[in-house]
Symmetry: C2
Subunit: 422 residues, 2 copies
């Protein structure tokens, strides 16, 4: 069986590369996913899957407690799901990948057009190549290999091409709400072929630190919001130390700060010779796999309340804390879960090597699937973590094909081979 | 003589208040000074002064080493000078005030229209009332009182109504370049009736602190420019301590930080979940009366070079330092200067009290007059320091009249009374 799969994939390298090029050449940034999703829907129809293409109802979805998106309408931004029914009696598998890509950023930092899809030295370049159109191609190759080789499965395969992963997961949430679930799920996000049964969640926060304005020549008559924001940043740094000291999960053994709190934006004051009266801080709080978003928010709230013990200024002028923008629910599947065993086994079979098992330092839609969608999700894919969201993003095509092979074998092993006709 | 002056001023309170209202109702922000300056020129002609109204030649002025302005053309922004020639044999006096005002800022913070000129409880309200149209009215009343009473002076009076004080002094510089100078000068900036023989200078700087970007979930792979900017701010704070420890001038006895370094603006990073790779800091460096701008710049340069001793990151990535925007040359007149004696004497005569002598915590055009224009300048005026540049700026009219009286007597005493006809 492994030999057949390997050969099929080997023979369809060029065809799949061309399809990945086609996908990468569509700049499917937020709001512009439709063309790419139509292409996927066509492909699923060609593979004889039952295809469901729909634009999520933003107003209805916005009522869901896990809804998080900067927009409330998804007109022109369809989700696509394809279902391959098994003959019954097997375990179902959900294969999920997102079609939205982050913007290309500063074009001057790209050596080529950001959406070129060019192949150089076995690497395919362009925004989304790694995150995560390459992984999506691995999924489609795996399904097509199984179909083309006439393999009959017991369990169902549910393939999801979703929108909105990059801004909070509303696409995957919409598929959950529509009722799609399975006994296990795989998302081929760019993990450098590592296997992540757990994923760090995260949330964005915004704080406003207050001071009191004065002329810079008599700055002692004011209170600098810039100096107060330094105290706030140092206070948050202590919270980060405290939270990470509690992480003992061996999957984080190689990670110096398993759940970081990053202050990414600072902005305050508006005149060089005035004392700044306000500073805005924006950041990202990492959430541990075993934690809930609400627990993490509550810990931040309580920690910030302690600021006034250090400096009475904060008692009268507490910084405001607001949770805004994106959030990713953490994912938390037991490394001993049966689906982990199957995936690791197929990894060893194809790679002739032991897989690296870790907890991801970032969130994916896997958290939603596991915690909200009742579908334990593991993240494993061919892309390069380091180039995701960066200029000159690319993927090693060989890894796309290897991942396809591992996933095809995993599908067969997990869903079960139907031998009734054999 | 004092009695005549007092009576004349008392009788012209309403007329002068109306003129101040007229001036305040003209929003003479940078670039919009013309209407107010024409009004002043009319007044000077009415007082039979020789009037010189001209738009400074921006291109020529820009070549001057002390030129500092965000613009290089002054078309529509005239300076006005009026000269009252004495009969000879006396000391000349230059009376300088600026007609430009800072913008009104957020109108919602004003209880009334920012340019209302309304009088409530003896206070006249509006942007520029204190800084420094009220002081200018004191000067004009003093000159008019002397003229109206038929007092003949030995020395010349040079009255200057200048542009650009709020953005680096190009108006006063243009008058210096044109040749206007005297044996002493007075600027009635808002000092709360304190006398400032010395004035703090200042310069604006901009620094760019560098980091290295990374995803917030793996922030340890990057270098946060926000954290590095905290180190830079603390380093600058040490320089401030060091520089102020060297100030022993008794005029600064009541000032906790005679020459502050204020960081007024901080701005860095552009994404909550990314490690910030750049932070911009903008600030104002106070310059001691006895110091030159260049000395202070050089001290900052040398101090910033020491950052790399604290943190090797700065050796490879030194923050850039740029001097930009406005600068004010410090002023430094000996408190025992003859003009100080005259001014203090007349202050005592009118106020029946001892004047407060201090060094100002901010720069004025006095530094240019003293250091560049060869005209020792003292700052003393009726405005309220605390409301300058703030919403609901106002001035106590009684102080305008008191200052006018002190200045009229100072003019007579300094320039010398011509008794030849008497």
């Amino acid at each position: 069986m492994q030999k057949h799969i390997h050969e099929w994939i080997h023979l369809h390298r060029e065809e799949s590369t061309a399809f990945l090029q086609k996908l990468v050449r569509i700049p499917s940034t937020q709001g512009n996913e439709q063309r790419a999703q139509f292409l996927i829907a066509d492909k699923l129809l060609e593979l004889s899957l039952d295809v469901d293409l729909w634009e999520p109802d933003g107003e209805a979805l916005a009522l869901h407690p896990y809804f998080c998106s900067p927009r409330n309408t998804f007109i022109g931004s369809p989700n696509v799901v394809g279902v391959l029914k098994g003959v019954g009696g097997g375990r179902s598998l959900l294969l999920n990948g997102h079609m939205d890509v982050v913007p290309e950023g500063n074009r001057a930092q790209w050596q080529d057009d950001p959406f070129s899809g060019n192949v150089v030295d076995g690497k395919l370049y362009g925004r989304g190549a790694t995150d995560m159109k390459g992984g999506n191609i691995s999924l489609l190759m795996a399904i097509e290999a199984v179909q083309s080789l006439g393999i009959k499965l017991k369990g169902d395969i549910i393939f999801e091409s979703v929108i909105e992963e990059e801004s909070g997961g509303a696409g995957t949430l919409a598929a959950i709400v529509k009722g799609y679930k399975a006994d296990a799920a795989l998302i081929p996000e760019p993990t450098n072929m590592r296997i992540f049964p757990k994923q760090q969640g995260s949330m964005w926060f915004r704080m406003e630190v207050k001071g009191r304005s004065a002329h810079g020549g008599t700055r002692y008559e004011g209170v600098s919001a810039i100096e107060k924001s330094i105290a706030v940043i140092q206070h948050i740094r202590e919270l980060e130390v405290d939270r990470n000291a509690r992480i003992s999960d061996p999957l984080y053994a190689n990670n110096p700060i398993p759940i970081p709190i990053n202050i990414g934006v600072i902005q305050g004051g508006n005149w060089p010779s005035s004392v700044a009266d306000t500073v805005k801080l924006e950041g990202r709080m990492g959430v541990a796999p075993a934690e809930t978003l609400d627990d993490a928010k509550e810990e931040m709230r309580q920690w910030m309340a302690k600021l006034s013990v250090k400096d009475p200024w904060f008692a009268a002028h507490p910084p405001t804390v607001e949770w805004f923008g994106a959030q990713w629910v953490p994912g938390n599947v037991d490394p001993d879960h049966a689906f982990m065993q199957v995936l690791m086994q197929q990894f060893r079979a194809v790679k002739q090597d032991e897989p690296v098992i870790e907890a991801s330092p970032w969130g994916t839609d896997g958290g939603l699937l596991t915690q909200v969608g009742d579908t334990p999700c593991i993240v494993f894919g061919p892309g390069i973590t380091q180039v995701a969201h960066y200029p000159n993003e690319h993927i090693v095509l060989e890894h796309v094909f290897e991942a396809a092979e591992i996933i095809a074998l995993t599908i067969i092993q997990w869903c079960g081979l139907d031998n009734s006709e054999a």
